[in-house]
Amino acid sequence: MSTPTLNQAPLHEYSGILGIGAYRPDIIVTNDDICQWIDSSDEWIRQRTGIVTRHRAGRDVSVVDMAEGAAREALLGAGIEASELGAVIVSTVTHPYATPSAASLLAERLGATPAPAFDVSAACAGYCYGIAQADALVRAGSAKYVLVVGVEKLSDVIDNHERTISFLLGDGAGAVVVGPAEQAGIGPSIWGSDGSRWDAIGMTHSLLAVRDFSATAMQNDGDTDDAAVAADETRLWPTLRQDGQTVFRWAVWEMAKAAKQALDAAGVSVADLAAFVPHQANMRIIDELAKQLKMPDSVMIARDIADAGNTSAASIPLATHRLLQENPELHGGLSLQIGFGAGLVFGAQVVVLP
């Protein structure tokens, strides 16, 4: 009996980013607003984080709503119809359903059904993880055009009275369309994880603790003692926390190494870059990373964090979108992007700006 031969998808040599879009929600939270909740000052927050305001979304705006806004602009920029998408990837940690995914609903709203659609849970590295996958899908011939969205509604998972991370965070969405290109548009991805530091950034507790508390409350006919609830944090809605010192050290000195690897893998040096777009975690991380990488003055460094706060998976596409709007001459230039965050996880690549 002869062995049948399989067809495999034809490879495509190059991929690139074809269009970019952004959605910034309209509630502006100032440092003075923050100081109603924590004992701090505008000056202290600016000095420690570089943040002046953050954008946050109202209760009626969902992760998928924001993703849709950014995606429509990215499709327009790429000049393709949603129906041409071969895959929809949404990177987020704040879509409030374990299943179904934000991506499948987004694909339906855009008119991309039946494109494969899935979410990526890689926190602040989520966008770079999405780009790594989109690049691979396009070049492997698995999809012609791939939509990658980084979106977060972090205001749903913060505790306003908490001091390690909540005051840094904002909401928003950024999206790009990745597709076949005539020349190399996405350098090799340097990505990875370090679960030995799983507890450096993350939620206060598991959703199972919320379930168990709800079950107890039901048994008591909903008769709960408010003071007891407040005293037992594990009964409450999970929110984010971080060990800032550990994260800072990792984000600067370990990520500088990853960023250098991404440059080496792409065969370029910092002098070849037009822009540097690190995850917008904290202005001091951005400054120290730029110093460690010896970024020349000719490289435009994204500092969107001052107005947008830290928007996790959305921060790199949002910051890139703004750089391009304010500096149209950057189109076609090289950008080093690096995301890093809860996991710990990281991803970096050099890309040609759309």
């Binding site: 420690r48 800032g244 010192q245 800072f248 050290r249 600067v252 000195w253 904290n282």
Partner: protein
């Protein structure tokens, strides 16, 4: 291996570069946070630069115990041995 005096001088140089504080202000009994007004992020930068300068490893959990400049000198001196 650096002597305690050399470690102190080296630390003072690192603190000066990070914060602009005069090297003479960096004395053994000074608290990093209370006397020198060094925040947690600057402290990490100082720690990483000290690791490089003195060829030692200062783990994250150890940083919390380094309250004074003297604590840091003692730790680095011990770690070099």
């Amino acid at each position: 291996m650096a002597s305690n005096e050399e470690i102190l001088a080296g630390l003072a140089e690192i603190v000066n570069e990070e914060t602009g504080l005069a090297p003479e202000a960096v004395e053994l009994d000074k608290s990093f946070t209370d006397d020198l007004d060094i925040d947690s992020i600057s402290m990490m930068t100082i720690v990483v630069n000290a690791e490089e300068k003195f060829g030692v490893r200062i783990p994250d959990e150890e940083v919390k115990n380094l309250k004074t400049v003297g604590d840091a000198v003692t730790y680095i001196s011990g770690a070099q041995a």
